[in-house]
Symmetry: C2
Subunit: 570 residues, 2 copies
């Protein structure tokens, strides 16, 4: 019981020196690797760079205690940083204390929501973010983030938050591009892109083993940071107008407790909810993927609690909203992490960095960070998935397209809400006009298939109608229409058998329609039968008077109905 709510108890007692060695190495590698992205995502959210470091400290401890994934690494991630920036700029001005405070409130609300959802076992809510919606949202966000960073890369100060105004601003400000910033930014970008495209192959040609080549390739941002920081320091480019990180307060994060301001909290409720759900979906699907590889079980509801704890920790330590990040998790996994202890080691490492090494980051150019973000964000744009979805289903594609367009034009919240609403509406619309088929017997077998698609055997006085949908309020009237049409167009009909093999539910509205169909068919001299009614549906029908009033019988199988009714007048 305690183990369920404190997953740490399931691995800590078996912890040994071998596991510790592996975790320690992974912790050190993660520490070094995630510093650039932690700084970068804080800047993406419009926050001071150090907030990204703070958010990579206590949240890791909280997740190590409460989370169920052994290798998931939490911290600031691109998509959540983008959503945080969009939410905060609606309630405060970047650079003000109010903006920092709002970031804490957002983390706090998101943490509380995640924990409550976890305790109420509401992880299923995340299922309503369908793959096309989340895929479209990530692709659009990738573009938004890249457009967002273009200003930093070019040395321009952009303000717009959605794509088109931002591109317009970019075009208008283009003459003001700052040469040295552009050189550093584009240089880093080119280096990172080339490394990503050819790095592993190139290093393997130099004789390095594949895992090491992969790790070194992923260390590209570190190299870019080191090189451009050295250049900026050596030639004092900051004095020439290159934006740099500047002074970072040395020391551990201060303890913070966001105050209660009703208006602010109310304004941040919806963004906090969306950040929670999107962060959870991203994190849990990655956790499940990695868990599957190592045959470890992820509990989605406990993951909600773990991520909630991490966000509460962020709110209490001057951080920003966090979730399980793709790149930091992959680094952690590939570096050989075995238990959440690796996360603890990384937290200690980052604590040491904030205590001792922040002066080294003074000359780090913002443009370099922008280049790392841009490269990371463009991998979110998943064109093959968009193409596959188009090929597979126009309905899924339209939900995806609406998500993409709304995200780009109206912003992240409108994108997600619009996409989810449309997917639900399309599903309801589809189930409200169900597919149904008149079936016939495949000669010589006990099987019945669609008359239109197969060569089947039929008799004129029996119609076997297979309903391919649960019967509920949205399609109850449609069923009535189908049945009445059938009777009007088949004057020789004596028996109508509704085959319910695909009917998983008959709600009160549909029951009333069945009653109406039964009564009306009776007037026309047609007997209504049911076949292949499933156990749970049958149990429920028995709680009404319908089975007593029905003119015909309930057959266990279509074949039984056929044998009885088709033979009758032979």
């Amino acid at each position: 019981m305690l183990k369920r709510y404190l997953p740490i108890l399931s691995w800590l007692p078996h912890y040994n020196r071998r596991l510790c060695g592996a975790d320690l190495l992974a912790g050190v590698i993660v520490t070094v690797m995630v510093i650039p992205q932690s700084l970068a995502y804080a800047i993406l959210a419009g926050l001071p760079a150090v907030v990204g470091l703070y958010a990579s400290l206590l949240p890791l401890l909280a997740y190590a205690l409460l989370g169920t994934s052994r290798t998931l690494a939490v911290g600031p991630v691109a998509i959540i940083a983008l959503m945080t920036g969009a939410a905060l700029s609606g309630v405060a001005t970047p650079g003000t204390p109010a903006y920092l405070e709002a970031a804490l409130v957002l983390s706090l609300l998101s943490g509380l929501m995640l924990i409550v959802m976890g305790l109420l076992r509401m992880g299923f809510l995340a299922n309503f973010l369908s793959h096309p919606v989340i895929g479209g949202f990530l692709s659009a966000s990738g573009l938004l983030i890249a457009a967002n960073q273009a200003g930093h890369l070019l040395g321009l100060d952009l303000e717009a938050h959605t794509l088109l105004p931002r591109l317009g601003e970019l075009a208008a400000d283009l003459p003001g591009v700052h040469g040295p910033t552009l050189a550093l930014g584009i240089g880093s970008l080119a280096f990172l892109v080339l490394l990503r495209l050819y790095g592993v192959r190139g290093l393997r040609r130099l004789g390095l083993p594949t895992p090491l080549a992969g790790l070194l390739t992923r260390a590209g941002p570190i190299a870019a940071v080191a090189a451009t920081t050295w250049l900026t320091w050596r030639f004092d480019l900051a004095a020439q107008g290159v934006a740099v990180i500047g002074e970072i307060p040395r020391g551990l994060p201060p303890l913070t407790l966001p105050g209660f301001e009703p208006a602010l909290w109310r304004n941040l409720l919806v963004p906090a909810f969306l950040i929670s759900v999107v962060g959870f979906v991203e994190s849990v699907s990655m956790g499940q993927m990695l868990g599957a590889r190592r045959r470890e079980r992820i509990s989605p509801n406990q993951e909600l609690v773990g991520l909630g704890g991490a966000n509460l920790a962020a709110a209490l330590s001057a951080g920003m909203p966090v979730t399980g990040g793709l790149s930091r998790t992959v680094i952690n996994y590939d570096a050989g992490a075995r238990t959440p202890m690796a996360g603890l080691f990384a937290a200690v490492g980052i604590a040491l960095v904030t205590l001792l090494l922040t002066p080294l980051l003074y000359h780090l150019p913002i443009a370099t960070l922008a280049a790392t973000i841009t490269v990371a964000s463009l991998t979110l744009v998943d064109l093959p998935m968009i193409r596959q979805t188009w090929r597979y289903s126009r309905s899924d594609f339209s939900a995806m397209a609406v998500t993409i367009v709304l995200t780009l034009v109206e912003g992240v919240e409108a994108g997600i809400l619009g996409g989810v609403t449309l997917s639900v509406a399309l599903f309801l619309y589809r189930t409200s006009r169900p597919h149904s088929a008149l079936v016939g017997r495949i000669p010589g077998t006990e099987h019945f298939r669609n008359m239109v698609r197969h060569d089947t055997e039929t008799v004129r006085h029996v119609a076997l109608l297979r309903i391919d949908e649960s019967l509920y309020f949205a399609n109850a009237r449609y069923l009535e229409d189908t049945a009445y049409d059938l009777v009007t167009t088949h004057p020789e009909l004596e028996h109508l058998v509704l085959i319910c093999s695909a009917v998983n539910l008959i709600d009160a509205s549909a029951l009333e329609s069945l009653d109406a169909i039964n009564a009306r068919l009776k007037d026309s001299g047609v007997t209504l039968h049911l076949a292949e009614v499933k156990g749970p549906v049958m149990d429920q029908l028995k709680r009404s008077d319908f089975l007593d009033d029905m003119t015909g019988r309930v057959f266990l199988s279509t074949y039984a109905a056929w044998r009885e009714l088709a033979r009758e007048t032979e």
Copy 2:
């Protein structure tokens, strides 16, 4: 083509003297019978009584031209009057010209919406008002209307719009009850209730034939109106404080064109939409019921146009929102109406009344009208249906209960919106955790049923999993969990067959889950097969790479899969 949009063309050419005689009689009877309710429903909506007469004139002409039901009678009805009153009191004060103007805007908006929905063939939207929601809404509205009229019955002036404040006000004002009003009101009420309970039986004992007894019983309100009007006039009760209809302007309704006031229009959009949908559902289900009796076909989308035209006509002739009314339609039908011409005759009759007879209505007590409304509204409270729904399905019942409680406590709009939202949410929740069953062969047959419910034959290395739901985003993850659990708990498993007889849709999210299941089972040495995939689903799967990547096969039937796989290692 023209006939489809102008249904009058389908019957007018065949019109003859016999039909005309029947319609004329029905028209006269309807004219007399509907005068009290027309006046009463206008008062229920907070409008002058004459508006109810105006709304029974031109709208009848419009519906006769455009509607598809031969016997439906449109006009003010209780439920729409209640909703109209609730909507108008939000934007204007009863008794002011602004209130009258708002009623016209509401009719106009509702008319436009209905016509647009009809032309876009969006009649299916009405399906989302499930039976439990509409039933609960009608029952709650019946109570609301009765509470609303209690003030008029007792001679009190009440203001609150929801049930509890209104009952509180009633209790507080009780000492101020007006004796003569109370006597007239309770007298009429007792007369009408007794007539409804024992009228037909009593008149038949006196030797009258059943149809005449029914008609006379339904003429009860006329008798009550005549008697109390005479009493009020004879003893000049108006001077003693009994509220009466008073002066009604003589003559045909003025032509009106509601002005465009953006704020007012915006405020009335949601109420107009709800009034349109509720009115449509009420009207079309009654039309279909009567149509079924006479084997006439109702076209729901054309009905939208017909009702839309009626509401536009109401907006242009100083009326109020209208729809097909239960009691006036039943009167029309029982009086022998054969074509919409009966509606035209009734319109002419009511026109004559407004031209000539309004002085006779001067002394008609409001309390008598309140008594007729109360009796009519209490028949809306359908306790047997509430009990049946409770017995049949807790889920449907909860949607109904929420509708009833919200309608009583928060008002009509909150009731409908809350009920619809909850029914959709419950349906989604239910489909997000689908029923699935491991099935086995019923010995000696080709049939497979749930292992838990039936005695079946199974083999240890083959699992036959029947999924009882369409596979879509909300349950894709649930399917993965089910499949993984199965593999973990059955170590001897070699083949997993997903039986898709109940799967009517596999969307892009579910496809991705199937891909993941296939890959993961492959790692565990289990082969994935599908069986009984339906035509449309198979067509769609062929548009993806899934069938190529799948480790196993697609079997036409579960029996085919069984023969192939169970035999394999025998």
